[in-house]
Symmetry: C2
Subunit: 240 residues, 2 copies
């Protein structure tokens, strides 16, 4: 039973769908579509209309019976929910290939995420600029973050340097870490949120699914062998 004042935690499944709503409503806006029903959203997004209404009702009552949702109003509400009505300042830690690629990417600023500094330990890189963003010595990281109210640290350092950088970040006013390192980051009970990208996991998942049909053939054969006709607790017609 929920207590007065207690807040229903929004599930990660819902949170992960929010960017999809946001993205598609943005498209509708650009097409000057004024209103949309959960039914219509359902067709494009592939979620059920019921789920869409449930999802949105976690955050408020944005629709109107018999009408549906006003596109631009809903778009704005979801932007608020995602926290992107104000700009976010980011720094990239690690000016390697990936760090440079992210610094060069222009797609973040459209949504109000501005990279204002890059940090690296390599003195040959310090002083240079990537996409007009200066590279600073990593020693200055904490000072820079606190002074400039940086919200998000984009972590693209090598595996071995991750732990020490994360420890240093916990002593700053940073709010979130966008982690591109393969390291599992654990920050105990502090106000810093970590979002892992884990590219290798993503690639392995792809590999699994490419491999899946072959795998299931193999599993099937194995089980047939384990539980042949009439033996075992399952009958022939129950090969699981």
């Amino acid at each position: 039973m929920e207590q007065p004042g207690e807040i229903k935690k929004v599930s990660m499944a819902v949170i992960k769908r929010l960017p999809k709503y946001y993205k598609y409503l943005g498209e509708l806006m650009r097409k000057n579509v004024e209103r949309v029903s959960s039914q219509e959203l359902s067709k494009i997004l592939g979620f059920t209309a019921s789920q869409i209404r449930q999802d949105l009702n976690n955050f408020g009552e944005f629709g109107q019976q018999g009408y549906g949702y006003n596109v631009s109003q809903l778009y704005t509400e979801i932007a608020k929910i995602l926290g992107i009505t104000t700009n976010h300042k980011m720094v990239v830690i690690g000016a390697g290939n990936l760090g440079q690629a992210l610094a060069n990417y222009t797609g973040f600023s459209i949504h109000g995420f501005d990279i204002i500094g890059i940090f690296d330990k390599n003195p040959n890189l310090v002083g240079r600029k990537i996409n007009d963003i200066p590279i600073y010595p990593v020693e200055d990281m904490e000072y820079f973050i606190n002074k400039n109210n940086v919200d998000i640290a984009v972590l693209t350092v090598p595996r071995d340097e991750t732990e020490s950088i994360v420890n240093r970040l916990t002593n700053t006013a940073i709010r979130g870490i966008w982690n591109f390192t393969p390291v599992e980051i654990n920050i105990e009970d502090r106000d810093i949120v970590v979002e892992n990208v884990h590219l290798i996991d993503s690639l392995l998942t792809l590999s699994y699914r490419i491999n899946e049909s072959w795998l299931q053939e193999r599993l099937l054969k194995q089980k047939r062998k384990d539980k042949p006709f009439g033996h075992g607790k399952n009958t022939t017609y129950m090969v699981k």
Copy 2:
């Protein structure tokens, strides 16, 4: 009721945990640990021991009562399940910042993923090499993929070029697309698996969670206003 010969579909939740098992078992191997129980795995991985046993039993019976799991044997089994006992050939499509960063990354080949070619439409890039991998004209893409038995296409082209490239890929023998573009790829009933990275979604999710405590304050106030003392169907003690 399952039919004979029918295969239980492994849920995405399980699949997404497989790389974690694989990664941690690799660590244990390097530490020369010989055996491990689901209990011990549970402590490190943060999944319950019960869940770990359930997950593994989707694919076979790899443990032994009273003993646990043999680390290197389980590692090998999971490698088989993930389909990484044989090498995978990859091509990068789009030699922009991200494409170049991925081509330069050395972490993929450790797991048997080899990038053997890069494709771009820019004639100034064609003929150059990134990390010893040649850049070819994108016209040659289909021929190259089929001739060299390429398994995976890493897609890092601009948004507008995605659709046409994907259409062309469906006419090749490619098995999987690792999609770094912001476009939602839909390939109807063909043998090609798509794994989306969608960095913007990941960043927006981070933003949501940074914003969450503020958001919940706001939601709470709103609900208090909507359903004041003694009014509405909920009592004061039922503020949801």
